[in-house]
């Protein structure tokens, strides 16, 4: 089992003929992901890595039965791409694109809530269910099948943690990158709830960072609603206040959103917080033995 994506995922790639879209389509196909369609307006008839390209999402869905879409289009076109996928009634959309204007995301999220479509991201690495499917840009070789569910606001920091776990023999059910933007589609709590219900997930890793109060809310959710143990890591302990640390959402403003507050919130509910990504496997083994 897994959450969100599995071997039945039939993937559409929006922006498949672009540099990143093409590169990662090949990587996903090589992993075994069922990439059934690509879409780039005006490029119908082309093929990328053996995948047929369509002009519109509706056409791609009708012809191929795609049930998940991944978006690799530039930031200015990405809100439109998300809304096109939602209009075609694709229930799960993953947006990799970084740099979408926050007010565009406010509008997009309002529409998605209205029509009941789930968005992962934007500004995220996508998600991987090891051994079944890879939807996004996570490097294939870092994963292994196993009992750990992972959710993260980061991309490459996620790879670091997943790789450290895999090297210690701790495989994953699903690894989800929810993205580093202030306004995004899926929250930590959404993923924690799904992992709690997934029978194969025994333990969860949460990778947070400075900015906002999502981690604090997650700590409360873990205390109130979760039976499975959780281990956390928070990036940005050395970040100065008031400066945006790369991710649009990673900023300490008005004294809130500090790493210290988030670590305190997790510790208060008994969630161990690692000092380095490489400490996570050891903490996982501890909490798994202790349950």
């Amino acid at each position: 089992m897994s959450i969100l994506v599995n071997k039945n995922t039939r993937l559409l790639v929006q922006g498949i003929t672009g540099r990143e879209g093409e590169f990662h389509t090949k990587q996903m196909v090589a992993y075994g992901t069922r990439v059934v369609a690509g879409m780039t307006p005006g490029k119908k008839g082309l093929e990328v890595a053996g995948v047929p390209v369509f002009n519109t999402v509706r056409e791609a869905v009708k012809e191929t039965g795609a049930n998940t879409s991944i978006i690799y289009v530039p930031a200015r076109a990405a809100p439109d791409a998300i809304l096109e996928a939602a209009d075609a009634e694709i229930p799960l959309i993953i947006c990799i694109t970084e740099g979408i204007a926050v007010q565009d995301m406010i509008n997009v999220c309002a529409v998605l809530d209205w029509v009941g479509v789930r968005l992962i991201g934007p500004n995220c690495p996508g998600l991987t269910t090891p051994g079944e499917t890879k939807v996004g840009i996570m490097p294939a070789q870092i994963h292994a099948v196993g009992p750990v569910g992972l959710v993260s606001r980061s991309g490459t920091l996620t790879y670091e943690v997943v790789w450290a776990m895999t090297q210690q023999g701790l495989g994953q059910t699903t690894c989800v990158g929810i993205g580093g933007d202030p306004v995004n589609g899926t929250s930590f709590i959404d993923c924690l709830r799904m992992f709690e219900q997934d029978p194969k997930t025994e333990v969860v890793v949460l990778i947070g960072e400075i900015g906002g109060v999502d981690e604090e809310k997650s700590a409360q959710f873990i205390k109130d609603k979760m039976s499975k143990p959780v281990v956390a890591f928070i990036a940005g302990q050395t970040a100065p206040p008031g400066k945006r640390m790369g991710h649009a959402g990673a900023i300490i403003s008005g004294g809130t959103g500090t790493a210290a507050e988030k670590i305190k919130a997790f510790n208060a509910v008994g969630v161990p917080v690692a000092n380095t990504p490489e400490e996570i496997p050891g903490l996982l083994e501890l909490v798994m033995r202790g349950k």
Partner: protein
């Protein structure tokens, strides 16, 4: 991108928000001329992008043009929290009866714009939030229908203001929300919003942060960026499309991904070193961008070692390696470097770097420990 107070207030004025009459001055003589034109008492306000200007002595009253010239002479050139004052705003002084706060922010949890108001204006809203959180009122705005009048009334009556001002307040709140949306702001504050002795409401101070990701829609606003407020390295980084924040430490960091860049800084600290910067080359960076990043890191004289931490996904290790070599070809340096490349095309990347004299590491902890030692002069390649 942050706007200066005078820029923010001029933008507010375009949305019907009353602001004091005034103008900008870059010399004491200019300030005298503006004061003379305005007549009567004026307030001279330093234009720098930091909080606490008043406490630092950067905001002063002047009774007449003579005094305005003297006061402006003192404020211009002043150092406020590391920023030199190069402009002052000379505003007609207002007769303050009451100060309130009104702000628009992106409410991340609600995924909407929120309007916040407080009867405790004129002081830092974060102080109000910490001391008396019940004095901050909020409404969340549905983007489909915009700010509703009942919402502005909730704020207005919640603050317990004299009902005589309800129309003024409603118009100002609507103006602020429209200004926020139309200019793609991430923060817009009027603090204080003043009720004057002659029964008017006026925005005495203003603050606007714009969403950098939306500046492409606002070339007019992008063009008024105050270049005095950026260091050379920050400007170069921005132009190269890099996220860069200068810090005070000794170990320069080049990392792909913001979360990993923060974690890399944290781990340097954990092992007893101190990061010189935050630098995220972003996803899919190509060689030229990497080269620009390394030049920026090496331009910081405090840097005693450089750590490259690349975990390839959308970024390819070979591209990064090529960029490092490109930069090293034209920047001669003796600063020791530690490279850790993992992920997409890692083998190719390592082969390209084999010709450069660099320390290498397989794990982040190993890389950080080596960088700390290298910065202390205890390790060479």
């Amino acid at each position: 991108m942050k706007l200066q107070e005078y820029q923010a207030k001029r933008l507010f004025a375009q949305y019907g928000i009353p602001i004091p009459q005034g103008n900008i001055a870059i010399t004491p003589e200019d300030a005298r001329a503006v004061a003379k034109e305005l007549g009567g008492r004026v307030v001279i306000k330093s234009q720098v992008l930091v909080g606490g200007r008043g406490k630092a002595g950067g905001i002063k009253l002047a009774q007449d043009p003579d005094e305005a010239e003297i006061v402006a002479g003192k404020i211009l050139g002043m150092d406020i929290k590391g920023l030199i004052v190069r402009k002052v705003l000379v505003d007609r002084a207002i007769d303050i009866q009451k100060e309130i706060y009104l702000g628009a922010v992106v409410d991340r949890a609600a995924r909407r714009v929120s309007l916040m108001a407080s009867s405790e204006g004129g002081i830092d809203i974060e102080e109000v939030a910490a001391r008396t959180p019940e004095k901050i009122l909020r409404v969340q705005i549905d983007p489909a229908v915009g700010l509703q009048d009942y919402q502005t009334r909730q704020l207005f009556f919640g603050m317990g203001l004299d009902p005589a001002y309800i129309r003024n307040f409603g118009a100002i709140a609507q103006g602020l929300y429209k200004c926020f949306v139309a200019s793609d702001a991430s923060l817009a504050e009027i603090n204080p919003l003043v009720i004057t002795g002659d029964q008017k409401m006026i925005a005495a101070d203003g603050k606007i942060d714009l969403d950098d990701n939306a500046l492409f829609r606002h070339p007019d606003l992008a063009a008024i960026r105050d270049s005095d407020e950026e260091t050379d390295s920050e400007r170069l980084a921005r132009e190269a499309g890099l996220s860069y924040v200068k810090l005070d430490g000794e170990i320069g960091c080049m990392v792909n991904g913001a979360g990993l860049a923060m974690a890399t800084m944290d781990i340097i600290k954990f092992f007893g070193g101190s990061p010189a910067n935050f630098l995220d080359i972003g996803g899919g960076a190509q060689a030229e961008k990497v080269a620009a990043a390394l030049r920026i890191i090496l331009s910081d004289p405090n840097v005693k070692a450089v750590l490259f931490n690349i975990f390839g996904g959308i970024t390819r290790c070979d591209e990064v390696a090529r960029g490092i070599l490109t930069a090293l070809a034209d920047v001669k340096t003796s600063v020791p470097m530690v490279a850790r490349l993992v992920g997409t095309n890692e083998e190719e990347g390592r082969q390209i770097l084999a010709s450069a004299h660099m320390l290498t590491a397989l794990t982040l902890s190993e890389a950080a420990q080596k960088a700390v030692k290298a910065a202390a002069g205890e390790m060479v390649a």
